[in-house]
């Protein structure tokens, strides 16, 4: 459709013609990209996956209650944390000498791979053979905002493009009627770092994430206002585009072409988005599998939407679920109570998502990434040096768990190891940059060659670091 629409703009109305008369027919060459910034580009190497679904548990889930099984920590429960571990470390809330807190979940080995999963994630055990765990990821940030920025933009400060923007910039997106980079949030709040975690930074703004809502209008201000018919909208856009085309004939600035394209995209999105964002037209068995709650903002709905979007050729779907910051300041943030509820909210949907993608043959084309912005301490939080009435854990960046699954990822494996209490990585440590390098690799990029020229130097998502984690590649 997009190709058609663009074609029709230029048939009989070549914007260059008037200008060319004065310039001896000097042709200005435009790539498809100039006319349509989301036109697909081939990656340098054969991709193992063509789309990404990134599941971010904002606030950071406790690896010690979900995937990183530490029986030794159970034995040390209640004992004072050895001073040697605390020296030179900074924590967000822990002060003085905290006590170690044993795992609040029961672990069993699951699947043929025998990877450990806790009883907080019972359904997930059935798909554990699809995923590759990274048990010793580390970050150098211990506050939510900077850590989320680091995890999504490769740097803890504002201004860099997000992973999804890089990918959409590098590959474009296949579906002409939908954005290439869609963001879905749940849990009642946006991530602490704000919308910059799906911002485009110094990349052209057309590559930023488009936030869609699973409740109410999927995209705000997309619906025609009262009294404005679709036809009127159409002629409005046509008038604006006509002016833009005249402007383009004058200045030949390709940004104007991009703008023309954006108006057309928005117009097409008015039909396509509500259609793809409607989970009610899915069969009952599918809705049940995900455990969707129509009309509500829920992680389950977002998982189902993610599948629908990827099925429709959307390049990057970013999910954020708020509510994982288990400090133990109350019932909701206790690692044995609130965390368990949060796990229930994602357990079925994530399992369903993996199974649903698999049965559609989409799992082999889609990379799934799961994680938070950091992990949590093996020590119980002691805010203001006091013993707290609920069991909670503080922010901890030295070692935490993430997992990946799908296209290009080894099935049923686990890479990296933490020490007996899960405080530090002791083998297979990987950095946030390594995770990014791996994601780009799976999509067909060499992260060291994939750059954008800005402020006089080429920028990379992985800055000057990052190594592909070959151990989890299929």
């Amino acid at each position: 459709m997009g190709g058609l629409a663009l074609g029709s703009i230029f048939v009989g109305c070549d914007p260059l013609s008037s200008q060319q008369k004065n310039k001896k027919n000097k042709k200005i060459a435009f790539s498809e990209r100039d006319l349509n910034p989301l036109a697909t580009l081939a990656p340098p190497f054969a991709p193992r996956a063509k789309s990404v679904i990134y599941l971010h548990m904002a606030g950071s889930p406790s690896q010690l209650e979900m995937f990183d099984y530490k029986p030794e920590l159970q034995k040390l429960d209640g004992q004072a944390c050895p001073q040697s571990l605390l020296e030179g470390k900074k924590f967000a809330f822990i002060r003085g000498t905290p006590k170690l807190l044993g795992p609040q979940a029961k672990f069993t080995q699951a699947g043929e791979s025998g990877n450990w999963v806790s009883n907080f994630m019972p359904h997930f055990k059935s798909v554990v053979d699809e995923v590759s765990f990274l048990k010793a990821v580390h970050t150098d940030q211990f506050n939510h905002g900077p850590a989320q920025l680091f995890m999504h933009t490769g740097g803890p400060r504002l201004g860099r493009p997000s992973l999804g923007s890089w990918v959409t910039y590098g590959l474009g997106s296949e579906n002409q009627n939908l954005p290439g980079f869609v963001v879905l949030t749940s849990g009642g709040k946006n991530p602490s770092a704000g919308k910059s975690v799906w911002g485009s930074g110094f990349l052209p703004s057309v590559y930023q994430g488009v936030q869609c809502r699973s409740k109410g209008d999927p995209v705000l201000y997309l619906e025609d206002p009262d009294g404005i018919s679709r036809n009127l909208k159409k002629s409005t856009i046509e008038a604006i585009n006509k002016i833009n085309k005249e402007e383009y004939a004058k200045y030949a600035d390709p940004e104007i072409l991009a703008r023309i394209n954006q108006y057309e995209m928005a117009y097409r999105m008015q039909i396509a988005v509500p259609e793809v964002m409607n989970i009610n037209n899915e069969p009952e068995n599918i809705r049940q599998m995900y455990g969707v709650e129509p009309g509500k903002e829920s992680f389950a709905n977002n998982c189902l939407l993610a599948r629908k979007l990827v099925e429709q050729g959307v390049r990057f779907v970013q999910l954020f679920d708020w509510g994982w910051d288990s400090h133990g300041t109350g019932h909701d943030t206790a690692v044995d109570l609130g965390l368990r509820n949060k796990c229930r909210e994602i357990d079925r949907p994530i399992t369903a998502l993996l199974l649903d993608l698999k049965q559609r043959g989409l799992l082999e084309d889609t990379l799934i990434v799961w994680g938070g912005e950091f992990g949590r301490t093996p020590m119980q939080e002691n805010r203001e040096g006091k013993t707290m009435s609920f069991k909670g854990r503080d922010h901890h960046g030295d070692a935490f768990t993430m997992w990946m699954a799908g296209g290009g990822i080894k099935k049923g494996t686990s890479h990296g190891e933490t020490d007996d209490i899960g405080f530090s990585g002791i083998a297979g440590q990987v950095s946030v940059h390594d995770v990014h390098a791996t994601i780009l690799h799976v999509l067909g990029f060499d992260h060291e060659q994939f750059t954008f020229e800005f402020q006089g130097r080429p920028f990379r998502l992985t800055d000057v670091e990052g190594e592909v984690i070959k151990e989890i590649l299929a």
Partner: protein, 465 residues
């Protein structure tokens, strides 16, 4: 004072171009004036200026040597040649003065003088350039074949060639360790550069060690300087290779470590040392496991692709490394059997074809049989029943068919047996019974994903804590 010295010294690279200019100008004018000899006086004057500016260049050069901390050995030839150039400029001036001031100079022919001047200016200039940019800067871009002819030492990358069948017979040092050291270390640690008085290009060099003593410790990587330096944090001053140089991969470092741990043998095979296969895994050739055939194919005509795209069908290169194409109808759900003819111009290049959710029917199969390189086929969410799917039987590369959410049935499924290369089928939400066991012509099992997954309702689904 130091400031003046440094400042004046740094003007050296600028000022050297004055004597160069004057002398070259003098030489050119001498050539121009070779017959009439009518401008001798002015040419002599040019050499006088050349000599004066050469003196200034020598002085600033000396300042730069003092101010910038070069070793005398590095600059000595350049300095002496510079001084000689200045002296010869003055001599040339005197030689050209009429009447001659110094009689014996008369005996030397002017062309011999000119040739000397030319050689002096070239060699001095080159030596200066080598100090600024480093030895071999000028010839570095030459291709290796030319370098060999000129007798310039070449650095060539060595590759580790290991095969699945024969990896155990490879020599650990010659075939594995030497290439790693060669590619990452030897450009500095060779007999010529000898950084840290260390040579890593030979057994003797490795065993001898460098200025800080031995670099290998028997059976212990963690006490071997060679390994320890590579594993230090990149910001550490002692980290090797220096952080602005190409770094070895972690697999390469692991290999060095493992080799040191087994006692850094030079003449054993991997098999003899009983080393683990996973150390070498990443050096095995990668087997072609892509969604397109492992053959070369001509590029599709850009005009053909453009005209297909105009119909709304999505066409893209699978990667920049291949001409094979992926075609999808995600933007054109109205695609029907009759639209297929538009794809004929690219029928050889199509490797991945996604017709999911389109209007195609069973009559599409005879058309699909004409796509010789089809590797992945998606027909999900269409009304095909699989009748005529036999037309795809002899496609040599077809490895995956997605028929989920169609009316595909058991009779059709039987036809899929004995397909040439097929190894995966998706059949979620179809009519088939789940009994078929299929193999392809290579008698490999065909994996069937029957889908229709469900998740049981369990107590934990509803317990709220």
């Amino acid at each position: 004072m130091d400031v003046i010295k440094q400042l004046v010294g740094r003007l050296h690279p600028l000022i050297v171009h004055l004597p160069i200019g004057f002398i070259i100008l003098g030489l050119l004018l001498q050539w121009f004036d070779r017959k009439t000899k009518s401008h001798t006086k002015i040419i002599g004057l040019i050499y006088l200026w050349g000599g004066i500016s050469a003196v200034v260049a020598c002085v600033t050069g000396y300042m730069q040597y003092l101010g910038e901390g070069y070793s005398f050995d590095t600059i000595k030839f350049h300095l002496w040649m510079g001084i000689t150039t200045a002296v010869f400029s003055f001599l040339m001036f005197i030689r050209l003065t009429e009447p001659p001031k110094i009689e014996f100079l008369k005996k030397i022919p002017v062309p011999a003088f000119a040739l000397t001047m030319f050689l002096l200016i070239s060699v001095t200039g080159h030596l200066g350039g080598a100090i600024t940019h480093g030895e071999g800067y000028l010839v570095e871009p030459l291709p290796n074949s030319v370098k060999l002819v000129l007798g310039i030492e070449t650095f060539s990358k060595k590759t580790i060639l290991l095969e699945e069948e024969t990896w155990k017979n490879a020599m650990i040092y010659q075939d594995v360790i030497d290439p790693v050291l060669n590619n990452n270390c030897v450009s500095c640690h060779n007999p010529k550069k000898l950084k840290g008085e260390l040579q890593l290009n030979s057994e003797e060099g490795i065993l001898k060690g460098g200025e800080n003593g031995e670099i290998v410790s028997a059976h212990n990587a963690s006490q071997s300087e060679l390994y320890v330096r590579m594993t230090l944090p990149k910001d550490d001053e002692d980290h090797m290779p220096p952080k602005d140089k190409t770094q070895p991969t972690k697999e390469e470092i692991a290999l060095i470590g493992a080799w040191l741990d087994v006692g850094h043998p030079f003449d054993k095979t991997i098999g003899e040392l009983n080393m683990e296969k996973k150390l070498f895994q990443s050096f095995f050739p990668v087997s072609h496991n892509e969604d397109y055939p492992d053959i070369e194919i001509a590029k599709a005509m850009p005009q053909s692709i453009d005209s297909i795209k105009k119909t709304g069908v999505h066409v893209e290169n699978i990667s920049q490394a291949t001409h094979f194409l992926r075609v999808s109808c995600v933007n054109k759900p109205s695609f029907a059997d009759t639209d297929f003819k538009s794809l004929h111009p690219i029928s050889k290049q199509i490797a991945i074809l996604d017709l999911g959710g389109t209007q195609v029917t069973d009559s599409i199969f005879s058309e699909l049989g004409g796509l010789p390189n089809l590797t992945v086929l998606k027909l999900d969410h269409t009304s095909v029943t699989g009748k005529n799917i036999n037309a795809l039987k002899n496609l040599a590369y077809l490895k995956s068919i997605n028929l989920s959410f169609t009316d595909f049935n058991d009779t059709s499924l039987e036809q899929l047996s004995n397909f040439q290369a097929l190894n995966s089928i998706y059949l979620s939400d179809t009519e088939v019974s789940r009994t078929a066991i299929l193999t392809n012509q290579k008698t490999e099992p065909i994996e069937i994903d029957y889908g229709d997954y469900t998740l049981p309702t369990i107590a934990a689904d509803t317990i709220v804590y």
